[in-house]
Amino acid sequence: MRILRIRKSSQHILVSAALLLAAALALRLGAGPAHAAAPVAVVIAGHRFTPPEVAVPAGVPLTLRVENHDPTPEEFESHEFPAEKLVPGGGAILLHIPPLKPGRYRFFGDYHPATAQGALVAR
């Protein structure tokens, strides 16, 4: 019987945790994407970024728009701020980046890392 009771209680914990999580998510998701100021833009052309160094304000959430002028796809990625997203050939994407401390944050095109190198410079 004891074992049965433990199992019941962990079932209750599971169900209530799941409900709480769902409620919390619904509340936050309902608010929709919180956009910072106008998106900062960077262009991919010839498997290079223009501008190679993008000046951004420090301490505020950022929206980055990456436009791909090449006909081939690219993957925009960074290991220094959270970003990993496919940019279709001839397409554009939006990325939401958390507030950055002042500094230089490198990013790259994962499909052409030899040439596609750039950085966000937060001030």
């Binding site: 936050r28 994407p33 959430p61 796809p73 690219e74 959270p82 496919l86 279709p88 939401h96 958390p98």
Partner: protein
């Protein structure tokens, strides 16, 4: 040329790790060959579809199509892993202890092999679509069919080898521990996927909170290194986890633990002692 080898190698290794765990978890189960084959085929077909329609997927949901698709398939994979672990905790322990014949357990319990097939499909789809798009770029850029063929062949061989090593490694685990070992690995796999999903929601702007990195172990093991990537697949390692990712990771791990307990087979009652 080398770049195309490395990128395919990297992605195939990540799918191979997951395949290895699934193979080890289904050791000796009839019908698993069909399950693995169906999962691989569905994953490859899905990868090509996603690659073909990448532009259109992205345009959906106000530019968050990629993220929502990824979060959905990650959530599906976590759900399938949870279902499998719940089933295993009811029937697997007895099997591991050799109390019941495997065939009997499978007949009685209808082991959810399809769940694991879906997990394989998801792994192949996620890594595969990146490979397909990359190789398409190589081909369109005129770098030649050789680099593509070499990259593809090398990547598949390497991924297969990793899956095999993972599988063989897990086979060395003694039978009485195999249940705990596979459940733990599957829970960690799922926790990593949940943390990934959290990061993707943040990137899409749907979850703009708890986004400050808690610490950085980039000096020790970078996210871009091959060991870093392998650990990312296996246990959800990230050099700079933030609060939401950590929360998703820990909550999934706790959830899987509770699930295993909730569904655990009732202990065989020590017959006379329970009289009150």
């Amino acid at each position: 040329m080398l770049a195309s080898l490395i990128i395919v190698f990297r992605e195939v290794i990540e799918a191979g790790l997951i395949l290895g765990i699934v193979l080890a978890a289904t050791r000796g189960v009839g019908g698993r060959g069909r399950m693995v084959a169906a999962g691989l085929a569905a994953g490859l077909a899905g990868a090509v579809l996603v690659a073909l329609f990448a532009g259109r997927i992205e345009a959906l949901f106000a530019g968050s199509g990629q993220e929502l698709l990824n979060v959905t398939i990650l959530a599906a994979a976590v759900g399938m892993l949870a279902w499998h672990n719940a089933w295993m905790s009811r029937h697997g322990r007895a099997m591991g202890e050799g109390l019941r014949s495997l065939g009997h357990a499978v007949r009685e319990g209808r082991r959810p092999l399809a769940a694991l097939g879906i997990v394989i499909a998801v792994a192949v789809l996620r890594e595969g679509s990146e490979v397909v798009l990359f190789l398409y770029g190589v081909a369109a850029g005129g770098a030649g069919a050789w680099a593509m063929a070499a990259g593809g062949a090398f990547g598949i061989a390497a991924g297969g080898l990793v899956a095999l090593l993972m599988y063989r490694g897990m086979l060395t685990i003694p039978t009485r521990h195999i249940f705990t070992a596979t459940s733990t690995m599957i829970s960690l796999l799922a926790a990593g996927m949940a943390a990934d999903a959290a990061a993707i929601l943040q990137q899409a702007g749907f979850a703009q909170f708890l986004y400050t990195p808690l610490w950085s172990t980039a000096w020790l093991l970078g996210d871009g290194s091959i060991p870093g990537r392998m650990l990312h697949t296996l246990i959800g390692y990230t050099a700079r986890p933030d609060g939401l990712q950590l929360l998703a990771w820990a909550a999934t791990l706790a959830g899987f633990f509770l699930l295993t307990r909730a569904f655990a087979a009732p202990a065989r009652r020590p017959a006379p002692a329970s009289a009150t």
